[in-house]
Each structure stands twice: as C-alpha cells, then as structure tokens.
Amino acid sequence: DVKVTQSSRYLVKRTGEKVFLECVQDMDHENMFWYRQDPGLGLRLIYFSYDVKMKEKGDIPEGYSVSREKKERFSLILESASTNQTSMYLCASRPFGIREYFGPGTRLLVL
C-alpha cells in the first residue's frame, strides 16, 4: 500500500528558529511536493521536486528552502521561522502520472 510519512504531526517553534520538516515516500515516485494549507485558501504549492537534487519554486517559496538528496525523501526548511508561517504543511508524491498521494500533514505553530 502506498505510504507517505511526515516527520511530525504537530510542531511548536519560536520565531527565528530553523525548522526542518521531513517527508518520506516508499513508492519510488519521481515527483514530490510541499504545500501549505490555510483556511479559505486551499493548497498552495511551496516547492516541488521532479528528481533527486532537482527542485522548482511553487507559488509561495519565500522564506522556505528544500532538499532532495534521495529519491524517497523531500525536506522542507524554514530558515528563520516567522508567525505568518503558522500553518498546516502537507507533503505529496506523485508517480509519472496524475494523482497525488498525501502525507498526514504537520501542523506548525510559530510563537
């Protein structure tokens, strides 16, 4: 069965901290995505990766960076967390196809 896991379900961080969110998929998918989800705004793409070490900016990359050193792992980094980055973060993977498989999400609170 397809599985996407995220390192934390809930996270509380302080303003200015560096935050790492990790996502692992066990399906050998080429494409991986990081979204944030806020009430009334839907899913907004932060970054995606279509291969190891390859990344592209999504709609809202400011304040974030990503790393994909291995095919199964895609990390989202908040270089210096700010309160406006409080959100639900969702990782997804997709094979060379169309539908996306999502992880359970990480609810991040930045104080």
Binding site: N31, F33, G42, L43, G58, A92, I98, F102, G105
Partner: protein
C-alpha cells in the same frame, strides 16, 4: 491567471439524500480535473479523476461530471451517509506546468443523521 472556485459555505445534507458539490474554473481549459476528500487534520485522499473528453465518471456512490462549456465540474454522492462528512477538494492541471495542480479551497460537507 487560472482560478478555481468551490463553495466556501458548508453544505448540510440529510442522510440518504444526494449531495452535490460544485467546482468552477476560469481562464483555462484543463486536460483533467480531480476530486479529493480531506478529513480534519489529515491529508487529502484521491477519489476520482475525469478527463476533458469524458462527460461523466462513476465510482460506487460517487459521480463526477465535467462540463467544459460551463467550465464546471459537479461531484455527487448518492445515498449519503454521516461517514461521508468531510471537506472535498477539486484540483486541475496547471496550464504552465506539467507537474503542478491548482487547488480549490474545498467545500465542507455535513451529512446529518
């Protein structure tokens, strides 16, 4: 730019009735449109995909229609059950990317016993 709209108000439906959710889009003719279900505090789960050359798709109690003239998709759940209560998201392919989807904000569906 592409826009996708779903009714932001929650939809309350009596158990056993058909629930119908709407997804409207502008400024684009997508090759396909997808519907996902999201439960509170969880990631979305894929339900159905319909392509531009398909008028209708069915899966058990679910039915999706795709009207490219009206730029609208309808998502139906027949014989609705309280367990169908969730937020339903629609997504379509982006005109400027082979990889990315554009997402609606979702409609919350509440099925009352």
């Amino acid at each position: 730019s592409q826009k996708i709209e779903q009714n932001s108000e929650a939809l309350n439906i009596q158990e056993g009735k058909t629930a119908t959710l709407t997804c409207n889009y502008t400024n684009y003719s997508p090759a396909y449109l997808q519907w996902y279900r999201q439960d509170p505090g969880r990631g979305p789960v894929f339900l159905l995909l319909i392509r531009e050359n398909e008028k209708e798709k069915r899966k058990e109690r679910l039915k999706v229609t795709f009207d490219t003239t009206l730029k609208q998709s309808l998502f139906h759940i027949t014989a609705s059950q309280p367990a169908d209560s969730a937020t339903y998201l629609c997504a379509l392919d982006r005109m400027d990317s082979n990889y990315q989807l554009i997402w609606g904000a979702g409609t919350k569906l509440i099925i009352k016993p």
